[in-house]
């Protein structure tokens, strides 16, 4: 069922139910409180009529009663057997003979007050003899019983029309109003739905002109925000996949070509060695790329919520010891000044940062060079610097260094094994820990990477 139909149904049901409740409420109110007042009011009128009739000469009685009937009262006059009616008949003229006899005997009949309470009958409108006032009158020496009630139909005919019109107007206009409101509410929702459906097919440019200040407006704003974020990440993801594919493909191509060369008959041993070296380098590159991709996936998954206090000096020392092989391989010396420092964070992720920074330092150092590592803690910050004296980077290269898959100067570092992901991973992890990472580099002078982390108060 569409929202439109639901709105109409709800409106209809609301009106039906509220009408029924009001009807019963008013009926109850009448029987509980108004009936008595109405009875007394009409009793006063009836007694005043009776007093006047009693004093009239018999020849004027008939015309007076007719005038009274024309004035809007239903009158029922009886001496116990004969009946005369003025101002129209009662719809239901049943009445207990006993009641008539009582009135003839001089009592008053409080029919309006004593009219029985019925659920579906409004006592006020019941055109029945039992719903009248009976008073005794003496006309020409004879006792009569005069029953009367106001002729509601006559008196309120126009009022009926007015109220009826009002009710119909209220109902119709309410429906129209509800339709209009429903339209106003549903239209932006329909638009949002269409835009969402389009998004499923990666279409992000469906215009969405919803300018409202209510909840739907907020929803639309949030939707637009979300959509632009998803669009960005989709673009990024595609770019990423493109880059990854390229980075996987190019070493594979190299490997294939060199395997072809290796199969050629009559190649010299030194050539063979050379080809094998190239193949090894390329597989190493592939292997590094995949491990870095796995790391990236886990960075996206893990949060520093797995908080623990990490003794950075111990962690760095362990990392340095473990990477000793890589340092030795390039005959690099490493000096480290590690003052005790503790950070809150995810130890696995932080270790990845140190590994990435240190392997970068090794990668870009010259044979026999050196790398300096320092760890210091001030009141609020922990500072880790990794400095190499290697090939360095230009200003432009420094700017792009944290971008995924950026590798400083493709031509120069060709053959350097690297995934182009290390620094961007490090940056992501450090930012996840509320810190920042900076690069200071000059070609030929080497690179200094500085990591600044918020200090942990607990030790």
């Amino acid at each position: 069922m569409s929202l439109y139909v639901k709105f109409i149904w709800f409106t209809f049901l609301t009106m039906l139910i509220s009408s029924a409740i009001s009807f019963f409420a008013m009926n109850t109110l009448y029987h509980q409180f108004l009936k008595e007042d109405n009875n007394d009011k009409n009793l006063a009128i009836a007694e005043s009529f009776a007093g006047h009739l009693n004093s009239l000469p018999p020849d004027q009685v008939e015309s007076t009663l007719e005038v009274l009937g024309d004035a809007g009262y239903q009158l029922y006059l009886t001496d116990g057997s004969d009946v005369s009616r003025f101002g129209g008949e009662f719809r239901d003229e049943t009445i207990a003979q006993e009641d008539v006899q009582h009135v003839l005997g001089g009592d008053i009949f409080n029919g309006i007050r004593d009219f029985p309470r019925q659920t579906f009958v409004t006592g006020f409108f019941a055109n029945e003899l039992t719903n009248s006032i009976g008073v005794p009158v003496t006309l020409g020496g004879e006792s009569y019983a005069l029953f009367l009630r106001p002729d509601i139909e006559l008196l309120f005919q126009e009022l009926h029309l007015l109220f009826g019109g009002l009710a119909v107007g209220i109902v119709l206009l309410s429906f129209l109003g509800m339709l209009l409101v429903a339209r106003l509410l549903i239209q932006p929702i329909t638009k949002l739905t269409e835009a969402t459906e389009k998004m499923a097919t990666e279409t992000f440019d469906v215009p969405l002109a919803i300018d409202r200040r209510d909840e739907i407006g907020r929803l639309a704003d949030q939707f637009l925000l979300m959509r632009s974020r998803i669009e960005q990440s989709t673009v990024k993801r595609k770019e990423f996949v493109h880059n990854v594919s390229h980075d996987i493909q190019s070493p594979l191509h190299t490997i294939q070509s060199y395997l072809g060369l290796l199969e050629k008959p009559g190649i010299s041993d030194s050539d063979k060695q050379h080809y094998a070296d190239i193949i090894r380098e390329e597989t190493a590159r592939l292997s590094l790329l995949t491990t870095q991709l796995l790391t990236l996936a886990s960075v996206d998954k893990e949060t520093p919520e797995a908080l623990e206090t990490v003794a950075l000096h111990e962690q760095l020392h362990a990392t340095l010891s473990h990477l000793r092989y890589a340092f030795d391989d390039k005959e690099l010396a490493l000096s480290a000044q590690l003052t005790p420092a503790y950070a809150q964070g995810n130890a696995v992720l932080l270790q990845t940062v140190w590994e990435n920074l240190l392997t970068n330092a090794v990668k870009y150092s010259e044979q026999g060079g050196s790398v300096d590592v320092s760890l210091t803690q001030s009141e609020n910050h922990i500072r880790v610097t990794v400095r190499d004296y290697g090939i360095g980077m230009t200003e432009d290269e420094t700017k792009h260094a944290f971008e995924r898959f950026y590798r400083a100067d493709q031509a120069r570092t060709r053959g350097q094994k690297g995934s182009g992901l290390g620094l961007s991973i490090a940056k992501e992890i450090i930012e996840l820990h509320g810190g920042r990472i900076e690069l200071d580099s000059a070609p030929g002078a080497g690179t200094t990477v500085t990591v600044i982390l918020p200090a942990s108060s607990s030790v």
Binding site: T291, T295, F327, D328, D329, E331, A333, S335, A336, V348
Partner: protein
Amino acid sequence: MIRILAVDDDLHMLQFVAGELRQNGYEVITAENGEQALARLEQQTVDLAIVDVMMPGIDGFELTERIRTDYHIPVILLTARHHIEDKERGFLAGSDDYLVKPFESKELLFRVKAILRRYDHPENNTLTAGSLTIDLKSYELRSPNGLSFIPLKEFELLALLASKPRYVFTRDAIIESVWGLDFQGDEQTINVHIKRLRTRLEQFAPDVKIVTVRGVGYKLEADS
């Protein structure tokens, strides 16, 4: 001869590890799983175990535990994942060393040597020269400037000179002690290493100097 136990359910990897170790003068026994490894250990004494983490049955962690408690020999773990998870991390931190696959044979040999060296010096074994402390067990240098790792050959050269301060070592003695008798390199090699070592000392422990004794060799001096 040093005997090494290699355990891996991946046969290619096992052959690679065993082959490389044998070529470099170690005796190697192999096992394809934890049960086999424990059986081998009962038959023969072993100096070092190289254990793959991911194995069916008794996995690398459990095997390492048992080797540690029953045989007191060092263990190098092989792990396939670069990104080491929490459970492993605690374990690896306590292990003697670990290697992340894929690795080159050079790295494997480097780590094997380093561990065997550590186990050769059960007590703290240090040399001092001026402000410099040379730790022969961990192969680290310490000075008021902190901590330093230098390449193995340079370290051995420095340790040799520091073992007898102010004693003049001839170039031949140095080559024989550091590079071994079958050294094929030329005279330049030692010059390069001395030069590098001097630069490093200048920064790390400026009071320690390597002095050239013309026509004879080198000696180590420290300001007092």
